[in-house]
Symmetry: C2
Subunit: 209 residues, 2 copies
Amino acid sequence: MAKARKQQEEELTEDLSTEEKIKEAARTVFTKKGYAATRTRDIAEEAGINLALLNYYFRSKEKLFQQVMSENIQKLFGIILPLVTDATTKLDVKIELIASAYIDLIRQNPDLPLFVLSEIRNNPVQFKNRVPLDKILENSSLIEQLKERRPDIHPVQFLLNVLALCVFPFVSRPIWLAAKVFDEKEFAAAMEDRKRLIPVWVKAMLKAK
Amino acid sequence: MAKARKQQEEELTEDLSTEEKIKEAARTVFTKKGYAATRTRDIAEEAGINLALLNYYFRSKEKLFQQVMSENIQKLFGIILPLVTDATTKLDVKIELIASAYIDLIRQNPDLPLFVLSEIRNNPVQFKNRVPLDKILENSSLIEQLKERRPDIHPVQFLLNVLALCVFPFVSRPIWLAAKVFDEKEFAAAMEDRKRLIPVWVKAMLKAK
DNA sequence: AAGTAATTTAATCATTTGATTAAATCCATT
DNA sequence: AATGGATTTAATCAAATGATTAAATTACTT
């Protein structure tokens, strides 16, 4: 499909269908196999296009990866940081919202956390530049509420706990499925249960002495 | 250093120093960068030997990887499965022992969990063949005790919780270090705190209604 | 329908990388 | 110190892979 704009000689506003198709294919393959194990030919095949077209649109594997990575980080952190900083919700409600939103998000993108964690480890500086986590957490509503509730324990310990309880089951999912401790359906049901259970558990942890 | 045995024409009992040196280098590089991103030349350099020597000892990158992977899985699961199946300890003690042993182990090998989880995802069948997790958990002491304590909740939910609280902080460590939420020393101290806190938290979770 | 720019492709290039080989070096035994 | 097997290396090969190019095709405008 040719572009429908000939007056715009400078433009970059592509007809999105092909470009998006490539990006989605790239997201699928990168997220499943990681950067190094992904061949651009795999992405092209997944997108149903030719290898050269991928470079025509994205210049290089690295540039394509950066775009996908950017959006993945945005997806994974964009959903939680607003909840963490929201000063209008009480602590217990925050935890319910975070658990529910996070489990829903990751259920739809089960490979996302392991991929993002791996790639952040490979390039922490890049992550730091994209997500100013220190600034966001500093004096965030959640951290303040945790300090107030349990001044004796570092507030990030509880943030770690909430994230751990939400994310770790998905990160370790291949283990439970391979070992047939759960099948796909049981796993999904267990994660659904956790949306209700995690807030109960975290409240109990906040009280525990 | 030449071998000190000339009568043994069939042998494989290498003088271990070089072979072990290569394997340790491989463990370091594989664990840090993953299989695909690791070049055999990197391993050779890390080991202070030539590339050909690596193939002389291990035949191929894949074979070397399998050995390292085997030992890594052994390390990560070998320490916890005996505790899970030990019928002589009470539930609360089990949790203390697991948390303490696991955090100690991972503190010494902080890249291990992310590496093993990634590679299990890449090849779940191989993992299944190496660790018969279903057989081990089935009627294991820990699972039985969890069923008895909380018949209303799937026992693996609590196993997930213990592992999540122990492992996830290390898996996400690059995030906290990059964002300067913790420096290395503070992170280590926080993990040390968790050896005491996790059993308290898990007991609270087991009571929570 | 012709012209034109956008899109797509097949073929090819250059580099990287896992692996091999033949020769050199080392070292215990004689 | 000469011998011979064990160990190590430099050089090279072959396949995989990211990227480029020039030509072919498509579809919109006139």
